[in-house]
Structure formats: C-alpha cells, structure tokens
C-alpha cells in the first residue's frame, strides 16, 4: 500500500515523508525487539529447588470462590507453608461457571498456566486425552495407599493414576426438618409415588414449595448438572457409547417425573440464587442435590444448618451420581515434582482427614480411618450413606467429553416440556435426533 503524503490540499509545505516514517518506525521496532530479545535470552541454571529458591505453584481451582470450602483450602495451604519453606502455593482460577472454559482456552492457546489444576469428572478426561496430566501414582505408592476408591479407575492408564480426588460430591435428598415437622410428616417416602405425594403435601404456593431442582434455561450448567440425577429413579442412562438414550423408557419417565414435580411443587422460575435464598428462608422443603451444598449453608445460613437432614433415596436401586473432583499435576508445567509434594501433603492420612472434615465432605477417596466421630456428628448424613454410586462416564457414555453440549440439547427440549406442555415423547424424539447429529460430528 503506497502512502501519498500530500493531503487533499494542493499545497503541502511539510508533508509526512515516507522515508522518515519508515526510518522512525524501523528504529522504534528495532529497539523494542532488541530489548525483548535481551530479556528473553535463555539462562542455563539449575532448577530453583536445587538452588534453595522458593518455588511458587499456581493452584487453579474454583474452590477459592466457594463459601466454606475456600476457608478449608486456605487453611490447608497455610498448614503446608508452615510445614516447609521451599514451596509456596498461590491461588489462581475462576468461579465454577467459567472454570472449564478458561482452562480449555489456555489449552487451545498452547499451555495451561497452572501447576496444579482442579478438575471435574469431564474436564479431567479432556485433559488426560490431551496429554496434559502427569501420573501421580508415585504419590500413592510413597504413601502406601492401597484402598484408593474405584472412582479413580477411569483416570488410571496402564496402572498409573493421573489425578487424586479431593472432593467427592454425591446426590441425595436434602430436606428441612422444621418444614416436615410442621406438616406432620414422620414417615419418609420409600417409593417415587410417595416422594411425589409428600412433595405435594409440602407445597403451599406461593409461600412454600415441596421440592426444587434447577430448571432455568439461563443457567445451563446447574440445570443439566441436576437434571442428570433425575434419571436415577428409573435406572436410566443418558447415553451408551456413542448412542444417545433420551427416548428410552427410563429417560422419558424421568422427564415426566421432572415435569410433574415442576408443575406441582417447584418454585417455578426461581434461578439458583433465588432458590438458595428461598431454601435458607425456609420456603423450600427438599432438594435433590449434592452434599457439598451443606457446607455452603453452614457458612451462609447458619440458623438453617441444624434443620438440615437427608433421607434414603426413594427408589429401589438407591443409585445416585457421585462426582469426583481430582487434583491433577500439569505434566507440561515447570514444577511437576514440587506440585506432587503438595498433593502428597494433602493425601497424608492426617491431612486428608482434616481436609475432608473441614470441607464437610462425607465420601473419602481412600480408607483413611478415624472418621467415626466426625460422621456421628453430622445429623444430615444418613441419606448420603445409603446410596449406590454411579459415575458421570457410566451414564454419559462417550458423550462425557461433550457433556455440556449434550446437556444443552436436552435442557432445551425439557424446557419446552415444562413451559409449553409439549408431550415428553415428542420433545425427546427431537432431542434424540439432534444428539445423533452430535454423535455424527464427534465421529467425524
């Protein structure tokens, strides 16, 4: 592109000279390049750990944003810092809703910047497939742990486990004892029909709602996260291998149950934030939700905490989704060994027990022992102990790698069922067709 340095005026006493322009920009560019290159010159030195320098580890997790859990983790990090002087753990990451996206952006841009990366059941598989995760089998071997939970099987390759669960959340039925007492409900439901009946009895719109589950399309993550569990009463799976199963009888029944609960018992239109407030304000009687929520309520609604209970799932199989959240070590990061030191510290029985109890978690990742007193002190625990665990890969098949995309298709159609009374079979048939298209794209 040639630049005519005259203006649209005929007379131009001092035009911008192309030569001067090139000379100046060239000089500026050379200076910048030289300064950046001098800073980028490689230095050949021994690793920081051998030089006695402090190693800073970036721990990317959403835990820093979760009430209750954040305090537990900050305590453990502080304890780790007190136990040695060489390694410091720094907080990094994003809230849960942005976490996976940002990790994927960094991955696609070439490298994840964290040394330690917290993962979800689906993210861990994506990172594993991308070759980003270091084996942490040596941590397990060094600690002599032989009872690691079977939930780790799907991230174990050639006998090497690639992440260690630090939070297992499992779905159960949490309820508010005070509301049940007021309604004089003493017998807990043992079948789906009884559950529906009790939920209806507990509903007194607009002041009280017998049941809640996320159902707002603007919050797709939590909507899909919770909707998946509704297949459990009928032993349903959402996909088998690459075959979507959303027109199968169990899934159709699950959506019908969800619709009935929505019509008769849900606080319709309440988003997550509002529902949380309603629950804390004793307007919602029950939720089919993960145990981790209890820790949030203990921090944000301490007056409600003594009323929280859980009961056994009212379906014969007692099947429920357990989601493990493994801490992983970035195989391509500069501090693999130091990162493993922190993981090893966390998994030492004494520390792991402390982490578990401070997080109010109830499912240990290995047989750590010594938790009897802790469990006995949790009145809301009983229902969560009486379940048969299943994992997200078990119910999502090969779609586990595209879990949210799958979920978006499903919740779009379920929302049509909820808000426009579209027949479930018809809506799910459309979802099935779209999901088969998705499967085709995955194969392609």
């Amino acid at each position: 592109m040639s630049v005519d340095t005259t203006t649209d005026s005929a007379a131009m006493p001092r035009p911008i000279s192309r030569r001067n322009l090139l000379k100046t920009t060239g000089a500026v560019a050379s200076t910048l390049a030289a300064s950046s290159l001098s800073k980028a010159s490689p230095t050949f030195a021994a690793p920081a750990v051998l030089q006695g320098e402090t190693i800073n580890l970036k721990y990317m997790t959403w835990f820093w944003y979760e009430p209750g859990r954040a305090e537990a983790w900050r305590y453990m990090v502080e304890k780790f810092h007190e136990s040695q002087n060489e390694i410091r753990v720094e907080e990094a990451g994003w809230p849960f809703n942005e976490f996976t996206n940002n990790i994927i952006v960094q991955l696609q841009a070439g490298q994840i910047e964290g040394d330690l990366i917290q993962t979800t059941p689906d993210l861990v598989l994506r990172l594993l497939r991308a070759g980003q995760l270091a084996s942490v089998q040596d941590v397990i071997d060094d600690l002599g742990i032989t009872t690691l939970s079977q939930a780790h099987d799907y991230i174990t390759i050639d006998g090497q486990v690639h992440g260690l669960d630090v939070v297992t959340v499992v779905f159960g039925l949490l309820y508010n004892q005070a509301i049940f007492d007021e309604a004089n409900i003493t017998e807990m439901p043992t079948t789906v029909d009884e559950w529906l009946d009790v939920s209806r009895r507990l509903t007194d719109r607009p002041n009280q709602f017998g049941m809640h589950s996320s159902h707002v399309i603007a919050e797709p993550e939590s909507y899909w996260f919770q909707l998946q569990e509704w297949a459990m009463p009928y032993d349903g799976v959402w996909a088998e291998g690459k075959t979507p199963m959303v027109t199968s009888e169990p899934i159709v029944n699950a959506v019908k149950l969800f619709k009935t609960m929505y019509d008769d018992c849900f606080p319709q239109g309440s988003n997550d934030a509002t529902a949380t407030r309603q629950w804390a304000d004793q307007q919602i009687a029950q939720q089919l939700i993960v145990s981790a929520l209890v820790n949030v309520y203990k921090s944000t609604a301490p007056e409600l905490y003594p009323n929280i209970r859980s009961y056994s799932l009212p379906w014969p199989s007692k099947k429920s989704i357990a989601r493990i959240h493994p801490i992983t070590v970035n195989a391509n990061g500069p501090q693999v060994d130091a990162s493993k030191e922190f993981v090893k510290f966390l998994y030492t029985p004494e520390n792991y027990r402390e982490l578990l109890t401070r997080q109010l978690d109830v499912i240990p990742a290995y047989d750590v022992g010594g938790l009897e007193d802790y469990f006995a002190d949790l009145p809301w625990l009983t229902g969560f102990q009486d379940i048969n665990q299943t994992t997200p890969p078990d119910i999502m098949g090969d779609f586990i790698f595209n879990n949210q995309e799958f979920g978006q298709i499903v919740i779009n159609r379920v929302t049509e069922v909820l808000t426009t009374n579209r027949p479930v079979e018809e809506a799910m048939a459309d979802a099935q067709a779209e999901l088969e298209g998705l499967a085709g794209r995955l194969e392609g």
């Binding site: 592109m1 203006t7 911008i16 490298q111």
Partner: protein, 299 residues
C-alpha cells in the same frame, strides 16, 4: 367595506378532525414514551429496592413495590467482605488507559482516512469495520496465545491492566476511527488550506485546526472507549486471574458461584459499579450525541 374573517369560537371548529388526530397522536406518543421509560427504569429501581430490603421481604410473593423497611446490610457486607474498592479502582485505571490509547490512535487513524490520500483508503476503511463483526469469543484463543508469547519474551501483557487496556482499545478503535473520520470530513477544506498556506505542517493542522473544531467527536470516542473498557468481561476474565488487579466486571462475576450467590450483595455491587459511568455519562452526554451524529448531514 372590507370583510375581515372573524375567528370562530365555535367548539366544533376548535376540535376539528385534524386537531383531534394530533391530540390523540401526542397522547399516544406520550404514553409510549412513558411505557419505554418505565420498562427501562424499573429494573434499576428494583435493583435499588432489593438491596435496601431485608432478604425475607425480598422473597415474599407478591413482592411489595415500595420498601417497607430499609436495611443496609448488603452494602456493609459488600464493603467488609469483598474488595469492591480495589475492583472499582482497577476498572477506573483500565478504562482511563484504554480511553487514552484509543483516542490517541483514533486521531491518527481518522486523520489518515479523512485527510490523506492513499491507494486503498476506501477498502481499508471498510476492512476496519469488518473487524467489528468478529465476536470476541472467536478470537480469544489467538489473542491469548499472542499475549502469552509476548509475555514470555519479557513484555508483561498477561496479567496486566495495560495489556488488557490494549485489547480493549483495539476493539473500539475501528468504530472510533469512523466516528472521528466523519467529524474530520465535516471540517471545511478551505480552513485547512488556509492554515497550510500560512505555513502550518500536517500535524499542526491536525492538532491546532482540526481537533479543536471536532472536540465533540473526540469526546464521543473517549466515552465509547471508556464504557467499553469499563464493562468488558470476556477478555478481562481470561487475561486476569490475579486478585489484586481484577477489574470490577470480573470481581462482580466472581461473586456468583455454583451453589451460592448473595443476590443482595451482588446487586449492591452492581449499583456501586454503575455510579461512576452514570456520573461520567451525565457530564458528557451533550458531546456524545453531537459526536456520534456528526457528519450525518454534510453541506
């Protein structure tokens, strides 16, 4: 004797059909304006009311339109538990930097497009607008890769507010250049020529003749850049993870977690977040309209 028309006092004439039609139109327009105002203002009103009411009253159905109790807990908790002051400070710094970069580059870009003649000027101007058609999400990965690569070579663009300001300025630059180009086009050629004849160079013409005449356009560009950088979220939350340099848009979003969102505190933070731009806009609004519509009518 001449007959002068006497104004009729007959009511049937006074309320003639065109007059009635005009009155109906004006009432309808007034009603429509009122509806638009209510629809626009009500969410802000509701936000204020929700932050000032105790949680238990916010959850009542049907909700009361007027607050029966005032409770400032949301604000006290906000300032006690969140780094809102730091977030607002960071956002202000970010917006000012982005505005300065954008205005500076816009002046040069608009000058090149409006007052210089060079081959490809027209297509280049169109090409500039095309960059506006790319959604941010589409280019986040390459920008992230570039920033990381540059940072690794010693220029700290990642995790830095100046680095983020550069992206924000780059995004608003095309629209800014077009706004200012139209303003520059409207400066009479004779005025510039007179200055050139008097011996002024092109930069002197730009800074002493053209810019003073197009100040509303400059202010409009500055305001647009300021608001963009103030509100921008996607780049900010991708590029910035350090708590001490988080801008307010990212800070506010970090209050939303999967299992708990403190609604009242979040809305209170939203109000605090909105104060500065509202004041800024109120001070600048007359320039904005003048600047954005400049060049729409050219003689």
């Amino acid at each position: 004797m001449a007959n002068f028309p006497i104004p009729s006092t007959d009511s049937s004439t006074r309320w003639s059909r065109p007059r009635i039609a005009r009155a109906v139109k004006s009432v309808a327009f007034g009603l429509l304006a009122l509806v638009v105002c209510v629809v626009t203002v009500f969410p802000i009103y509701w936000m204020i009311v929700t932050t000032l009411r105790p949680t238990s009253l916010n959850l009542r159905y049907p909700p009361a339109v007027l607050p029966s109790q005032i409770d400032l807990t949301a604000f006290t908790q906000l300032f006690a538990e969140e780094a809102i002051g730091r977030w607002i400070f960071n956002s202000t710094l970010l917006a000012l930097m982005a505005t300065a970069i954008c205005v500076g580059l816009t002046i040069l870009g608009a000058y090149a497009l409006s007052l210089l003649r060079w081959r490809g000027r027209g297509p280049f101007a169109i090409f500039l607008l095309m960059t506006q058609m790319l959604p941010e999400a589409l280019i986040i990965v390459p920008i992230f890769a570039i920033y990381r690569s540059v940072t690794e070579r010693g220029i700290p663009l990642r995790e830095s507010l100046p680095g983020l300001a550069l992206i924000d300025a780059a995004f608003i630059l095309p629209i800014g250049i077009w706004i200012l180009k139209n303003m520059f086009d409207s400066v009479p050629r004779e005025v510039r020529e007179a200055a050139l004849v008097d011996g002024a160079g092109p930069f002197r013409v730009l800074f002493q003749i053209v810019l003073p005449l197009t100040r509303p356009g400059l202010v409009a560009v500055g305001v647009v850049a300021f608001f963009y950088a103030w509100n921008e979220y996607l780049f900010a939350q991708t590029m910035i993870t350090r708590a001490d340099i988080k801008p307010a848009s990212v800070g506010l979003a970090s209050m939303i977690t999967m299992l708990d969102t403190p609604i009242e505190r979040l809305l209170a933070a939203g109000l605090v977040f909105a104060i500065l731009p509202v004041v800024f806009y109120a001070l600048m609004q007359r320039y904005i309209v003048a600047g954005i519509t400049a060049g729409a009518v050219k003689g």
